[in-house]
Symmetry: none
Subunit: 192 residues, 2 copies
DNA sequence: CCCGATCGTTCCGTTTACGGAACGATTTCA
DNA sequence: TGAAATCGTTCCGTAAACGGAACGATCGGG
């Protein structure tokens, strides 16, 4: 909570909330009733004077029949919200992560820049990469035996050996990459 | 806060947090330091025993360099209306399937044909869909509150309520879709 | 081996979020 | 018109989130 009584997070959240509420023709009081939260809470969130808990946020989002991201995130932001990580030839942006008892999945969007090649070190044993090419043509996979895939094609390889990424044809390529990391080894971020 | 001391929101948030943290090779203590929050808070969130405030959530997401939505999977809209209508707006190609002890992941490439909208029935409880738009603009997600995403953007929603797919703008759209189905239900193909 | 550093969990005093109630303003309806 | 209902803001007692400290466990290095 800021010294002036306002919240430290983006005040746009309160504006978005109010916009959604009014679009549904709900009064503040009615929304609070439906969400099972206090009117003071809804009022405070709309005005940026309260810092609600996660439960409260979910309750409000559910009462509005919207996903949480409708309140907490700019709709157009996903691609830009995570910080892209730039390597020699690859710019990767994390889209989502899933943790299972035995493995973690990370989903990235990749931009592979022309004119350069990137070699990634071996991931720990058992890590696999699964790449679906969106645009352009990519040479990728195990450094010892790279594969080539064009837009619309899909590749998988074991990433526990050095592997490469390069865009062919002089144009930037793009892909969706899913990294599956079995548990046991310490997890590390992309090393794409 | 539930009577048994656990939180009422989706415990997957804590799992996702832990997965991301470990993927970054961060200890709980280090993440807490970077986020400027207490270790007890991070520990409590990972174990579902605390209900953090929005500020705290943002601080943690920022420390992980991920958007908030990477942590807060959209709960989706309440079950909306009627019986799903299966149309012919979507052509889906299964790319890969990953089976984990607790869940199965199916990765598809979708072509969404213009001029039609397809509504999918609710999947069993807990099923989620995660879609990254490759080309065009798509309206998709919970039928009660559909979202729009253009090429380069990423969306997620709970698929245990009816959900829709439509290409906007008169052109075919394309996307990569990841469906996560927690175990118990038998596997089924897309119901897209 | 011992010691220091770090870990994640728990403790606990402090701060703050919670929602019911109070309140003045506004709206609705007979 | 007047009464009742509802509104959104504020108040305030209660519960819970906060983070620093304590603690036992683990790890790494001399």
């Amino acid at each position: 909570m800021g010294a002036d009584g306002t919240s430290r997070f983006d005040p746009a959240i309160g504006r978005r909330l109010r916009g959604l509420r009014e679009a549904r023709g709900l009064s503040l009081s009615e929304l609070a009733r439906r969400a099972g939260v206090g009117k003071a809470t809804v009022s405070g969130l709309e005005h940026g004077t309260r810092n609600p808990t996660l439960e409260t946020m979910y309750a409000i989002a559910a009462a509005l029949s919207v996903p949480m991201s409708a309140l907490t995130l700019d709709p157009g932001a996903p691609a830009g919200a995570a910080s892209p990580v730039r390597g020699a030839a690859v710019v990767s942006t994390l889209l989502e992560v899933f943790r299972e008892p035995g493995a973690t999945y990370e989903m990235f969007r990749l931009r592979i820049l022309p004119g350069a090649e990137q070699t990634s070190p071996a991931h720990p044993p058992g890590v696999t990469e699964h790449l679906s090419v969106i645009r352009g043509t990519i040479r990728t996979g195990p450094a010892a035996a790279p594969l080539t895939a064009a837009a619309g094609e899909h590749l998988s390889w074991a990433a526990d050996a050095p592997h490469v990424y390069a865009a062919l044809g002089g144009d930037e390529a793009q892909a969706i990459l899913l990294i599956r990391t079995p548990h046991s080894p310490p997890l590390r971020s992309p090393n794409v």
